[in-house]
Symmetry: C2
Subunit: 433 residues, 2 copies
């Protein structure tokens, strides 16, 4: 371990949790963080910057009236989704909007910033003309408009949603050190969803013997379809109607979407219009030509539905440059398609030593969990990493470990440990480490 | 109990939880709700309505591209805050925007629909020119801009916010039966907040002996000020920077607001610029001429900071008219400034009999909790009520009980049981019952 090279950085060695400045979590829990450093130096632990001290206009004159739907400050205009792809010359094409995780905090993603990937554009559906049909191997086919679906017993749950293509660029080399975090990790978001359990509708229709899969189809012009195993459908799958308290937005599937917690996002079919119960998967375009991975033996891995345990540090990232030596909070998000996050470890020395981060509770199953740990940066180079472990005991692999099992021709389901390199001048870069 | 008068309403008597159609909660937990009624009649429990079956345009042509910040469907344009008051002829005046609770689900309120009450309008603050100062009875006065405040250890929590004036109209008679729910209950909302604990900043500054109160002041043109007891400040008070994942919106206090969980909303000072530590309350305009209640003995009740246990049914309400006899879900919200909601009871017969509703978990302290119970409406008149009990053992009072202690000259802190009358034709009205 390097010795601290400035007087402001003197801390008790027993407060260190791992190499290169990672601090004990009781630094947080006891609020002792600030005090400790203050006592050592007679100065505050966190740098104070002088800011404007004038009588600004807004302190002198009345402000504006409330809005029917409150907006963000004009000074936050840069916190938006990054868009890629889209419609060109009237042709349908895949388009995506990626969540700026490095600009957000907490675990709920504002609905307007929830990532989206669409293959045929966002339909402008009139809910009064939309219906959901359940048919196939059921005793009684039924259909529902949004208004009568709302009469059913509903549930509210927090779940993450992740595109299996999230992190795709990290299969490749060289790595662009200055990509913002949305490019590498922005196809994951978290929401509070309210809707009707699919099992309630299946109960009402009555399954026939031999029913094994449900083909879910959207009302978009490409009729995106995915096959859902019946066990999942009877477990926690829901028909979501509300997201973060209000009706789902068109980019997220208005007026209703299938929601398969912990499964790759593409299976949570948006603009849901048909659930066809059958004894086999449909082998649709989106589960054959897409959303499959080429394995080392040349075969395709299909129906890799459950998302793996994963985490990433969202602050600091390469969107910041550290201005001073001293104390920082390292924070990020962890999630797993197999249940709750049990533990997140953080390293400041590229994986040589690890310390447990504090997890923000309550921890929800199949939802993002925020982790935090104090870090004393002494000005030396550092490589910051996080490693998540879920309640099923799965450990987020290193990049090497991931490639060992999967080879390097895969496209989806990248979930290896991510590394941020901090340079001596305070700049931060993506690195493979 | 009335007998069911239609074949579709035959249910096993053991499934009934209380009078006038309230059903056992295992109806929900076992998903047996639908099946039971289906078996009895050979028909689905919930009415199915035929909706449009044509090939709508959105199924035929590609939709639109993703947006940088996704918007609501144009078909949801009516789900907005109701505005009252506001600036008139250049004068400052109180303005309010009320949350349409009857149009929302879950417990998170979208930030754009979070209620707001402002007394001097919404300031348009440039965060680079805003600072928070801590001074008075502290060993070391300090100030922070938003960027260095973000370097501190943060926490994320879900809390409700309620104006103590929420429900003010319910002190009066006669009652307008068709007011929408925002008029009687729309000054309460729930959010996931992220920020820095005030105790962290107090630790850093160091309290002097005898410090008992903190005067919090906003940067609005009226310098709204409230006095916060030091015990609260050292407990769970935070400086909130993010709401529901993104920076707080201007109507909610951008770039930073004080947040006193469970206290009347006005104490959670928006656009926070000064924390002055002292040995006594400041007796500001907003804790003397306003936000006090006239008691039966003619004296004013001041510093009634903790909000009482409260609940309201949000569906069905007078915004709906029941179209058919049959099964419905009754759902609503419950909250308490003193901790977690322990229990919510629902009555369909005006308080003669009560049944426990299902509470949606995890239950957060000082956050709204959603409750649900199935209800079989047989077409008879009904009065729907909810009654919340918190973990401190406090029980939401009837209107009579509330008046007995407080008299009828009060203005704030109305929290009595609320009643919805269902008429035989399915229309619903506010009533005092």
């Amino acid at each position: 371990m390097k010795s601290n090279n400035e007087k402001t950085l003197i801390v008790d060695a027993t407060d260190q949790a791992a190499g290169n400045g990672l601090m004990n979590r009781r630094f947080f829990l006891n609020s002792a963080l600030a005090t400790t450093a203050t006592l050592a130096t007679g100065k505050a632990a966190f740098a104070q910057e002088a800011v404007g001290e004038g009588q600004e206009d807004w302190t002198l004159y009345p402000g504006s009236d409330a809005l029917e739907y409150g907006e963000l400050s004009r000074f936050e205009a840069g916190r938006v989704k990054k868009l890629v792809g889209g419609l060109a010359g009237g042709r349908t094409a895949t388009s995506a909007g990626r969540t700026p995780l490095h600009q957000l905090m907490g675990t709920i993603t504002p609905s307007g910033l929830h990532f989206e990937v669409t293959h045929h554009g966002i339909p402008d559906i009139n809910p009064d003309q939309h219906q959901l049909v359940m048919h196939g191997m059921v005793k009684q086919p039924l259909k529902w408009g949004i208004e009568n679906l709302e009469n059913y017993p509903t549930i509210t749950r927090e779940y993450f949603m992740e595109c299996s293509g999230n992190g795709r660029l990290l299969y490749y080399e060289p790595l662009s050190p200055k990509m913002t975090l949305d490019a590498t990790h922005g196809l994951v978001s978290g929401s509070q969803w309210t809707g009707v359990k699919l099992s309630t509708l299946l109960d009402e229709c009555g399954l026939e013997d031999g029913a094994k899969w449900i083909i879910a189809e959207g009302a978009d012009s490409g009729s995106l379809s995915r096959s859902i195993p019946i066990d999942k459908a009877l477990d926690d799958t829901m028909i979501a109607i509300y997201q973060n308290g209000e009706r789902i937005r068109p980019g997220q599937g208005y007026p209703m979407r299938l929601l398969n917690p912990g499964f790759e996002g593409n299976t949570s079919v948006k603009w849901l219009r048909s659930l066809y119960v059958t004894d086999r998967p449909v082998m649709s375009r989106f589960e054959t030509s897409k959303y499959t991975d080429k394995m080392p033996d040349g075969k395709a891995m299909q129906f890799s539905l459950e998302l793996d345990v994963k985490s990433v540090i969202t602050r600091p990232t390469n969107a910041l440059s550290l201005q001073k030596h001293g104390l920082y909070e390292i924070t990020g998000l962890a999630w797993s398609g197999r249940g709750k996050i049990a533990r997140v470890e953080v390293s400041a020395d590229g994986g040589k030593t690890w310390a447990d981060a504090v997890l923000e509770g309550p921890i929800h199953s199949k939802m993002m969990t925020r982790f935090r740990i104090p870090w004393m940066w002494n000005g030396d180079p550092a490589v910051l990493q996080s490693r998540a472990i879920d309640e099923a005991g799965r450990v987020q692999p290193s990049r090497e470990q991931l490639f060992k099992g999967r080879g390097r021709q895969a496209y989806y389901h990248y979930h290896a440990i991510h590394s941020w390199a901090v340079e001596t001048d305070g700049t931060i870069n993506h690195v493979y480490a």
